[in-house]
């Protein structure tokens, strides 16, 4: 343990803790753009510089470990002047088009510019101009807004273990991009969007769907797999405009591609909301050839879009379940219980899978139980 004072307040923390974390424990906020609590410290934005007694030059709080007896000042006129200059430099190479930016209202850079009251810029000069060129339907990369905080690179490497992007070129021309500046071709987990402090990385699916201030948040569980990640649906005008996740959840705020981008089924007109019972006879009963069958099935599927087609009719859950139970019983009586087998879904939770196999073994009376992931 090490005891130190930050802005006159004393705190004892575990050795190895960063000055930034110690300050946060004391409720002292130090501005930062490149720090993320779950990623390795970077020290690139230089906003979190603090003064430590006995050290000549300011150091970054995010990279400096605490030591016994350390005396830290986080907000002196000297530091604030340096921070102002740094912010001014960042903004001198930024489109500053907050009026049309997806991230406005939720942007760390905008927030800092507001608090430092930066409107004029002493350093206005050349800006990096890049065309948006990715063909992918999910991630929008507006590299002109990128402040090179490296969070996206680190999350891709350290959390996702993909390393789809890296900083290329040097100095002012530095740019985050996939190898050889090809189009982004990755897992599209969207983690990079999640950690981006500015509007450089956004979701194409939620462009112009509403900014964060109009969003109502609804917490739920991801339906895609048994992991059960916590989702926060971002809802505007009763429509999910994007999906996020909170950091204090079992998935620590990280999501995969499906969790992040796969929410459109919710409002899809094709989504089934009630059980359907087939009214048309099965095609195999007509004795048709397989090619014709395929064609027929395709027609059937397209007709599914209209729920009350000639093939299906809408039913209540009670009616549907009764029918299924009746049919199971008939098959069982006619062909024996082992003529029935069932595959569980990867989307099911552990508990659901337990119930599923219990149902098959105890109710149906068969061990023909398997899982879709094997097929």
């Amino acid at each position: 343990m090490a005891t130190l004072t930050i802005d006159g307040k004393t705190i004892t923390v575990v050795e190895g803790t960063s000055v930034l974390d110690a300050a946060r424990k004391l409720g002292i906020s130090i501005p930062t753009l490149c720090h993320h609590p779950k990623l390795s410290p970077y020290g690139g934005c230089r906003m979190c510089i603090v003064e430590i007694k006995g050290i000549a030059r300011p150091v970054t709080a995010c990279t400096t470990p605490v030591s016994e007896g350390m005396e830290v000042s986080t907000s002196t006129p000297y530091l604030e002047k340096l921070r102002r200059t740094i912010l001014e430099l960042i903004l001198s190479d930024h489109p500053n088009d907050c009026m049309v930016c997806e991230k406005a209202g939720d942007c760390v850079l905008q927030e800092l510019a507001y608090f430092y009251g930066l409107r004029e810029n002493r350093f206005a000069g050349e800006r990096r101009i890049y065309a948006k060129r990715d063909g992918n339907p999910l991630i929008e990369r507006d590299m002109e807004k990128c402040i090179l905080c490296d969070k996206c690179v680190r999350v891709c490497d350290e959390v996702q273990r993909v390393r789809a992007i890296e900083i290329a070129y040097r100095g002012f021309k530095s740019k985050v991009c996939p190898p050889y500046e090809r189009d982004l071709d990755c897992e599209f987990c969207g983690q990079c969007i999640r950690v981006c402090p500015t509007g450089a990385l956004t979701g194409k699916k939620w462009a112009l769907k509403g900014r964060q201030k109009d969003i109502k948040e609804v917490d739920t569980i991801c339906p895609y797999c048994g992991c059960g990640c916590n989702l926060t649906l971002n809802i505007r005008k009763n429509e999910i405009v994007r999906v996020t996740s909170k950091e204090d959840t079992l998935n620590e705020g990280w999501l995969c591609s499906k969790g992040t981008f796969g929410y459109h089924f919710v409002n899809s007109p094709e989504r089934l909301k009630n059980p359907l019972i087939r009214i048309a006879p099965k095609s195999s009963e007509f004795g048709v050839r397989s090619s014709e069958l395929k064609e027929k099935l395709q027609t059937q599927n397209s007709k599914l879009k209209t729920q009350n087609s000639k093939l299906f009719r809408e039913a209540t859950w009670d009616e549907a379940l009764d029918l299924a139970a009746k049919r199971f019983r008939e098959i069982k009586e006619k062909h024996g219980h082992d003529s029935i087998g069932a595959l569980a879904s990867a989307r099911c939770t552990n508990e659901e899978n337990y119930l599923f196999q219990k149902f098959m073994r105890a109710v149906i009376g068969t061990n023909n139980v398997d899982h879709c992931a094997r097929y």
């Binding site: 020290g43 934005c45 230089r46 200059t85 430099l89 900083i167 100095g171 002012f172």
Partner: protein, 595 residues
């Protein structure tokens, strides 16, 4: 090239300067001529031909030493077509070609120098380990491995007072001691040969001239700290250095000076080469480590320092080439001998690459604390062309300009720091009154700006903005307040940047503003470049009273901006002129004016 009886020795400078001026061709002609002369002077018999490291006075390359018996003659400016006459008259007829030999002024270049690292350059064939051992090479290794404990070795280095020659000047012995005390299953020693300062070629010359001294320094360092693996991080742009290091490492392995059970002492150590990919910032130690690890060469914040957590997270000592090359001599000749050179806080000698407007440009080694005046006037021979000495830029892009009025300062870590510059790795560019200080600052800023890794904001964007301001000043578009803005931003960048590159990048600007503020003001307020360098602020014209109408300027003008009849004053069309200065240089009658 092993020799038996050496009646005749020919040593050709194959340092950076020698190679650039055609040393390889000179050697080839020597070889052919000696063979065809069919005399006793055949290579390998009574005559030996050596390619040796930098002689020092690069301005007079190719330099060739011809030693007949005990008489040494040095030829300067040797071109391949001069070789047959040297062979015929000197080697066969024993009459040195006196018109080509060096004069007394050549020796004045060496008088005030004290050579330690460069001392054996003229003796050692860099591609032959035997020539190194013949002059006492690897004796220090034997001494250390068989007689000294690591602690004793560190004590000697500490006592010698040597400080890092890469620029920062951290005491080498202290660095070794800290690393020695860190417990770890694996430690590394890295030789930083990523020399990248514009105009600096000290490390290159040392490696190309005497690579074994560097390897020996690494072996001793490794033994002292307890490392078993070493890397030389060398620029790929130094192919000859890479080649000679590769040969040297192979030869050292062959003599059991690298590998397992070195000299039967159970000490294991081997060296690998890692070629840099051309990033200046990889000379910064944490970026260098990242580069060896296969990462993008970007520095990280310290602490932890590499001595605690370096390459692959293991304790690592990183020393500069020159530092390591000093180590064998310190061990061989003793700490007291070494510390007898230099000042109280800066011990030993330092190699500088003396370039710019002095007569004798080249590689020099001087005791720390020597007067700047001695370097420029005694060793450097004063300013070329009788122009006025204006300033000297030391420490490369991280350093600053020292004005002529401070010419009597001592050259050591403390004194240079006091006037706003640094010793740095040893670049020394001398400027005269035709150099524009704003342009000099801009030159170095262009370099650092392009070499910034892009990780931290002050360096990435800040240096770019500094450069933009300098650009507009030199273009005559400077604004009121630009000087203050440069100072303000420069200081902020120095304080808030992540690594040494950004923390020192504004130095060339800040030091030139400090000493040459009036030049900046002239650019901004009067739109004039006092040194008449900045193209946008000068105009060429012809002085009618001097112009003879010879047409020399007219012929040389690439943009056909000059018109006029023969024997009548010519005229420069200002609209067409591209301000290349060709007419100014070619006119014998000083009829072209530059304003």
């Amino acid at each position: 090239m092993k020799t038996e009886k050496n009646d005749i020795k020919i040593k050709v400078c194959m340092g950076p300067g020698g190679i650039a001026t055609g040393g390889a061709d000179v050697i080839k002609v020597f070889k052919d001529d000696l063979a065809s002369a069919n005399i006793k002077a055949k290579i390998g018999k009574g005559c030996s031909l050596h390619k040796v490291g930098c002689f020092g006075l690069c301005a007079r390359d190719v330099l060739v030493d011809v030693i007949v018996g005990k008489n040494k003659t040095t030829y300067q400016y040797v071109k391949p077509d001069m070789v047959p006459r040297i062979v015929k008259e000197h080697l066969i007829e024993n009459n040195p070609v006196s018109e080509w030999t060096v004069g007394d002024d050549y020796y004045s270049f060496y008088n005030k120098q004290i050579k330690v690292v460069l001392s054996e350059f003229s003796e050692v064939d860099p591609e032959d380990i035997d020539t190194y051992t013949a002059v006492g090479g690897y004796e220090a290794t034997k001494k250390v491995l068989t007689k000294f404990t690591p602690e004793k070795t560190i004590a000697i280095i500490k006592k010698s007072g040597i400080r890092g020659r890469g620029g920062a000047g951290f005491p080498t012995g202290v660095k070794w001691e800290i690393c020695r005390k860190v417990e770890s299953d694996q430690k590394f020693i890295i030789c930083n040969a990523d020399e990248g300062d514009p105009g600096a070629f000290m490390d290159r010359a040392v490696i190309e001239g005497n690579p074994h001294s560097v390897i020996e320094g690494m072996i001793i360092g490794a033994y002292a700290i307890g490392a078993t693996k070493g890397y030389v991080y060398v620029r790929a742009e130094y192919p000859l250095a890479v080649e000679r290091l590769t040969i040297a490492i192979k030869q050292a392995r062959g003599k059991n000076l690298l590998g397992e059970n070195i000299l039967g002492t159970k000490f294991n150590f081997d060296v690998r080469l890692k070629l840099g990919a051309g990033a200046f910032v990889c000379g910064e130690e944490t970026a260098l480590i990242a580069s060896i690890e296969g990462q993008r060469g970007m520095p990280r914040a310290k602490p932890p320092f590499p001595v605690h957590s370096g390459l692959w997270g293991k304790p690592t000592v990183i020393n500069n080439v020159e530092t390591l090359a000093n180590v064998p001599y310190i061990i061989r000749k003793g700490a007291d001998w070494f510390s007898s050179f230099g000042t109280e806080k800066s011990k030993g000698t330092k190699v500088f690459a003396l370039t710019g407007k002095v007569k004798n440009t080249g590689l020099i080694e001087v005791p720390m604390g020597i007067l700047l005046r001695e370097i420029i006037y005694d060793i450097g021979g004063g300013i070329e062309g009788g122009k006025a000495f204006k300033a000297v830029q030391t420490g490369g892009p991280s350093g600053g300009c020292i004005p002529a009025e401070l010419v009597d300062i001592n050259v050591d870590y403390e004194s240079l720091a006091k006037v706003g510059s640094i010793v740095g790795s040893g670049g020394m560019v001398v400027l005269d009154d035709t150099d524009c200080m704003v342009s000099i600052a801009k030159f170095f800023l262009e370099f650092t700006q392009a070499e910034s890794c892009g990780k931290c904001v002050p360096c990435r964007v800040g240096t770019k903005r500094l450069l933009e301001i300098l650009d507009r000043i030199t273009a005559g578009k400077g604004r009121e307040g630009d000087i203050e803005l440069l100072e303000d931003l420069g200081n902020d960048i120095k304080l808030s940047s992540l690594c040494g590159l950004g923390q020192t990048a504004p130095n060339p600007i800040l030091s030139t503003i400090k000493y040459f503020r009036h030049e900046y003001e002239a650019h901004i307020k009067e739109q004039k470049c006092p040194a008449k360098v900045c193209k946008d602020l000068i105009e060429y014209g012809i002085l009618e009273e001097f112009c003879k109408g010879c047409g020399a300027c007219l012929r040389v003008c690439p943009s056909k901006a000059i018109t006029g009849e023969k024997k009548k004053p010519h005229i420069i069309s200002v609209d067409v002129c591209i301000k290349c200065g060709a007419c100014f240089d070619v006119c014998k009658f000083k009829a072209v004016k530059k304003e």
